[in-house]
């Protein structure tokens, strides 16, 4: 393990292009150990692309990405495998495997990385499902039989299957009702506290940002505009940031 300087993710001078379109141009971002960092930005600023680049689904044109202090470009395939084991990812619609039951979905990462008796695996899957607030009988169902919110929770259970140190969430509360979203936020806070998670969230949800985030990173004009606490960011002098945190939709949240 290399030096981490307290940073779980260290992105430096990142340039990402999709086709002819430059998404990020010299973006740098640090995510510190044990913090929940929310990434916000207008639609199309490349929040999801940033997430996918960090977890290695998109290859950047230039720039370095260090996860757990290890440069993703210099890793052997075995080390990369090990880094991936320490990360959990929740995709936007859960991305559950449609041909497997929910319980089998949660067991998949365990099965892939460790040799455990079937009974223990099933019990751990039941534990994770109960942790994300799903009933035990949900485990036998198939993803197509679940509602959107339940799929999201099941996806989170799968992301948590291996007790990741670093959790990536792509719009975790989008499409949930406000009560469900608030419960999700509480769940996240509790899990983060008890499992000492570092969390990277891509979100539009102001409630999530206010409730759970330690740090907020604002993407704008292909770069990181600012990364700081809620107070620092909301007082930052930029029209988009001012509009975002002090616009009509944020009023209800701010007392």
């Amino acid at each position: 393990m290399g030096p981490t300087n307290g940073c779980t993710i260290n992105v430096n001078d990142l340039v990402v292009r999709l086709g002819d379109f430059t998404i990020h141009d010299g973006l740098s971002l640090q995510v510190h150990n044990g913090e929940i960092t929310s990434v916000v930005g207008a639609s199309g600023t490349g929040k999801s692309v940033l997430l996918k680049t960090i977890i290695g689904l998109i290859t950047p044109v230039s720039g370095t990405i260090e996860v757990f202090g290890q440069n993703s470009k210099q890793l052997s395939s075995r080390e990369a495998h090990e880094v991936r084991r320490r990360c959990g990812v929740l995709f936007q619609d859960g991305a559950l495997f449609g041909s497997l039951t929910v319980s089998e979905n949660v067991q998949i990462p365990i099965k892939e990385h460790f040799r455990l008796p079937q009974k223990m695996r099933a019990e751990l899957a039941a534990l994770k499902l109960s942790m994300v607030g799903l009933d035990a009988d949900v485990g036998t169902k198939y993803p197509s039989e679940l509602s959107g919110g339940m799929r999201k929770r099941a996806g989170l259970a799968r992301a948590l299957a291996l007790d990741p140190e670093l959790l990536f969430l792509d719009e975790p509360t989008a499409g949930l009702d406000p009560i469900g979203a608030a419960a999700f936020d509480q769940l996240l806070l509790e899990l983060q506290k008890n499992l000492h998670l570092t969390v990277f969230i891509v979100t539009h949800d102001l409630d999530t940002i206010h409730t759970v985030s330690n740090k907020i990173a604002v993407l704008c004009e292909k770069k990181l505009l600012i990364c700081g606490t809620l107070e620092e960011v909301s007082s930052f002098d930029h029209p988009w940031v001012q509009d975002y945190f002090h616009g009509s939709r944020s009023r209800a949240v701010k007392h």
Binding site: S99, M131, S144
Partner: protein, 375 residues
Amino acid sequence: MKNPKGWLEVGRADNTMRISAGGFWTIDQVSELQPAVDGLVVDGAADTEVDFHRIERMDTAGAYLAAQLLDRCDDSSACQVYSNQTVDSILETVRRYKTSAVSRPPALNTFYELIGRIGKATLDALDLAACFVVFIGAITRHLIITVARPARFRFSHTMTQIELSGFNAIPIISLISFLIGIVIAYQGALQLGKLGAEIYTIDLLAVTILREMGILLAAIVIAGRSGSTFAAEIGTMKINEEIDAMFTIGMNPMEVLVLPRVIGLIISLPILTLIANLFGVIGGGLMVWLVMDVSPPMFINQFINSLSPWTFWVGIIKAPVFAAVIAVIGCYEGMQVSGSAESLGTHTTRAVVESIFLIIVFDALFSIFFGVIGI
């Protein structure tokens, strides 16, 4: 990265049972720790002391095991637990969420299960037949509506379908029938030659290609090519809720998706059959020229003589029927897709298998029919 070991020790002092654990209680260790926990026998009468404070690291899997251990100790009269901060927070979380209810599909008696499966399959088959009849009815209804109000007919959609499933299939169908023509002519010349009836190779070729092979080849290629495409296209739209969206916009999927495909294929397949016939005869003619030294003018002469008035039409008449079978089954299976990628795969396969099967069945029925009316 291999974690150091985790351990569990059981000792006894006076009337107290001492259980101490330490090291790494993590997911890579639990399979080794599990037997020790399972094998733990807690003496109901004795006091129990559980000491977790030498555990260096614990994850949820380890905590789950520790929680199992504590559950066993709860049976004893007095249980004292010592632990440290690392263990406390995670153990507390896991104990809160630990459920005894492990989701497991209900176990069934194999005999009843077998009977149940047969019953379910039978009901499913009946259901399928009923749904299929309804689907055919709906298509027919929309066909009649279209005839009554031609303005609603999706002309450009139909043209696109003719291009995609008809025009684009010309090269492959030409090539396959050309090759089959060669094969038939060669085998015919070889076998009939033994009887000294080589010249009847041309009659054989004419009847085989025009009555059966041309249409069958075209229909089977189209069933594999377009039947699967229809099912996959419509199925994907179903999964993405595009079909539902169409309904709410006021477009009828029957009218927009199904009819253009059915009509497009009914127009395309006879033309493709014509092309298959042409290339089959060219291939056969070429082979006859090479093997039997029959020049093209002679071939054409003998070929025309060998035709009865119906030979050509018997093949062509089947084409629209086969086209309707392929298109209707492809669209029907597409509409049956629900939810997962697996379902899409199953229905695409079924579209191809069912349509090829029905093509062969219909071909046999046509043979009987033509036999009875004597053409």
